[in-house]
Symmetry: C2
Subunit: 332 residues, 2 copies
Amino acid sequence: MRILITGGAGFLGSHLCETLIGQGHDILCMDNLITGRTENIASLMGHDRFSFNKYDVCNYLHVDGPLDAVMHFASPASPQDYLELPIATLKVGALGTHKALGLAMAKGARFLLASTSEVYGDPLVNPQPESYWGNVNPISPRGVYDEAKRFGEAITMAYHRYHGLDTRIVRIFNTYGPKMRTKDGRVISNFIVQALRKEPLTVYGDGSQTRSFCYVDDLVRGIVSLLMAPNENPSALEDKAPNQQDQPSSDLNIHSPFNIGNPREVTVLEIANMVLAHTGTTNPIKHCPLPVDDPKVRHPNIQRAKTWLKWEPHITLEEGLTKTIKYFQEIL
Amino acid sequence: MRILITGGAGFLGSHLCETLIGQGHDILCMDNLITGRTENIASLMGHDRFSFNKYDVCNYLHVDGPLDAVMHFASPASPQDYLELPIATLKVGALGTHKALGLAMAKGARFLLASTSEVYGDPLVNPQPESYWGNVNPISPRGVYDEAKRFGEAITMAYHRYHGLDTRIVRIFNTYGPKMRTKDGRVISNFIVQALRKEPLTVYGDGSQTRSFCYVDDLVRGIVSLLMAPNENPSALEDKAPNQQDQPSSDLNIHSPFNIGNPREVTVLEIANMVLAHTGTTNPIKHCPLPVDDPKVRHPNIQRAKTWLKWEPHITLEEGLTKTIKYFQEIL
């Protein structure tokens, strides 16, 4: 397949490029490099099935030749980034998604949107099934990311319903692993970098808020499964779906969103202590004020991915942390 | 003041044009006429302080000369329209709002966004204060309007926070009155047209869902009050706000959203019976299937508008219905 990946030089995008190149596909990587980094794709440069174009997907979008799939991963994605780049975040979520959908239409390509667990906001239901509508403050500072992604889902579904475009939506929960930036601002990279630098680990609030951390290899495998899944409605599976009461039957198709994440829920304080233990450090923990509208819980219900994609994560938090700590030890 | 009104040939936009022309302002009306109608502004054509430009606000936006305010009212706004025009609705909510904000920035103009009670979705809190985050299904067919407006609010707040633009957001609840289209698809115009045509009144579901109907003159007065309200924080008022527990203090400024609507909550069945009584007809009521994700309740908490704008509606539902029925009798 010939696949365009927007945001292909970002943390997740670059892992997708690598995996899909490894599977024999042709990859066109597009990134404006505002949060993506060429280091992430350095090992692919010069590969005859890989090309890179530094480009802002909010502009007029043209690609020579056929395309089989468009994967829209371009967006600032860590709270630190999108609070600093609110308008760029809103633009790429709305205008960028619109342009990428238009390109997929023009090429007759399948479209996959990188959405996020942030569409659930500060959820009142835990774990979150895909049928949960979310609890998002549209006017808060962090609303820029959440609403941009919700808009992205709405316009993706509109292209599917109105234009018959073959679309997929993945709601990505917290992910970690090699290629995260040292200054990314996300909790696991923060903790590891702080631990390795012998600095205090900064925990926001009392650390009782929970997250579910998925190792990047598991996540990428889930996303590729969703991209490659056939369009046919596996009606045999539908009958067996154990969580059917949460999933209105109209939602039970390949085009409605899939949670991809690790269902092991840990508190932020637990993860801080795990990082200390795995790095063999005894740095203190420093508590900082909780940001506005920080979600209190996050825990994916992954029944849909299990049933439809036969996917579930395999890498334990302990293994994943060990690999990620090794990566940061090498680059620091 | 010199004011641009996008969607100025629509139901609300054209009432705004009339009122603001009547108050001595210069009005530039812009509309692509996909749901707006030149009949709505016919009486203003040729007025030396009024000009009309048939234009899609999603395109490059340029206006000669200075502007004091940009009021962004362009959007399909009845469920019938936005279900038929999902992508146009998403575009004008995201790209159109972005262009209109950019123009306001370039001109140093105040910006007012027409948002909607639809940002509350199918609310789990009744009545709805502005601090309620809403219950919206991002991927449902009617999500296109709700998410477009939520995105519009998010980008408006981002321009305010990031660029210091003087912005206002009005969340408009159900409104009715002269200039609604006979085929608008909204409940009061539907019922009146059906009653006058001796057709059965179509009630969706059992009619127990509630709405709060504001007569258009009251609504326009509220919006103009918000547009003209000074930027200063009336801290004296803030202390007196009776509903403060619902309104985090950071939200208590003129830039955060204002509900404008009539707090009298009636069921759809009640309004059907009132229309029958006021038109002196005895047509039957025909029940139809409830659309997907139709909100069960809608009732504005208008304390913020009362406190900050000294605004509340004056026209009773009985008076408003009489005026609206008279309008439809004349045009049918």
